[in-house]
Point group: C2
Chain length 152, copies 2
DNA sequence: TTAGATGCAAAATTTTTGCATGAGT
DNA sequence: ACTCATGCAAAAATTTTGCATCTAA
């Protein structure tokens, strides 16, 4: 499965978010954060853990999970489910917009989004405080339509 | 947890997709499919299993998972990660618009959506054949903000 | 100094599989 | 008849937790 690149966030963005949220600035966390920012498609907890270990040997899996949870809570990262089934944590500052192929699972990110207006209006009406949004368009990519390929 | 109705997809849509894909039309599958179509924010495998059991007593968990996988492959549902951490399988055909509370998991559906345009344009540019789209706005509902409840 | 973080290992969850049996076509 | 689908239970994989020990602030 191919899948789009993680838009290289300005280094330190996630770390800053954590700090501003009042969490301590620790080496293990910095390692996880760096792993995420440099993860290129390899965003599964397991892969992030291995990457974080290279940066901060001795880091435990639990710390990776705990940090991912913090970041998710801050809306800095958004857990998604990859075509192969496992979780992936792409950086998600702001909204995320995906074009997802039902055939091969490819996920292409795009920026255009016209929801600002509607989102705010609907949210206000329901008394919601918006944190972010996810817009996914599902379909079949050219390749899959041609080959009649189907995701297993 | 409260949550709005799931816009009743034309009953049988998912079942039809399965049939057209060449899969057998069995009672257990029909139960799962109905559970999904009637899932009201309760889209976790576990909840869907309980719902399916009410429709077809004796159905096993494995069948639910297997059916969800088939439907995912067909692009009929799209696995996402719920605020509480588990998976959710919202319908991915047609257009769905949810307001999801990070605090209590409430899912409210709404109709307004300005994405028709954008979706078509982006899809065409990438050579995608659109099957549907999902717009989810994440935030905190009034109740949760008052009680200070936060997603764990 | 002191609340918050970490690593480890165990526990809990969630999802997948093997296999004998039962159904749809 | 012949596949394909199912349920069950076991196995695997994934995620969460308890707790003693560190460490940033």
């Amino acid at each position: 499965m191919k899948s789009s690149e993680t838009k290289a966030e300005r280094p330190g963005l996630l770390a800053r978010l954590l700090r501003e949220a009042g969490y301590r600035d620790t080496a293990p966390r910095r390692a996880v954060v760096r792993a995420i920012e440099e993860a290129d498609g390899e965003q599964s907890p397991e892969a992030l853990w291995r990457a974080a270990q290279r940066i901060h040997p001795g880091i435990g899996r639990a710390t990776v999970y705990r940090t991912l949870e913090l970041l998710t809570g801050l809306g800095a990262v958004r857990p998604l489910i990859a075509a192969e089934g496992g979780r992936r944590y792409p950086v998600a500052v702001g909204g995320h917009h995906h074009l997802v192929c039902s055939g091969c699972g490819t996920v292409v990110e795009f920026d255009e989004c016209a929801e600002g207006e509607v989102a705010r209006r609907v949210a206000r009406r329901q008394g919601f405080a918006i944190q972010g949004h996810l817009l996914e368009i599902y379909g079949t990519c050219g390749d899959c339509r041609v080959t009649g390929e189907v995701r297993t």
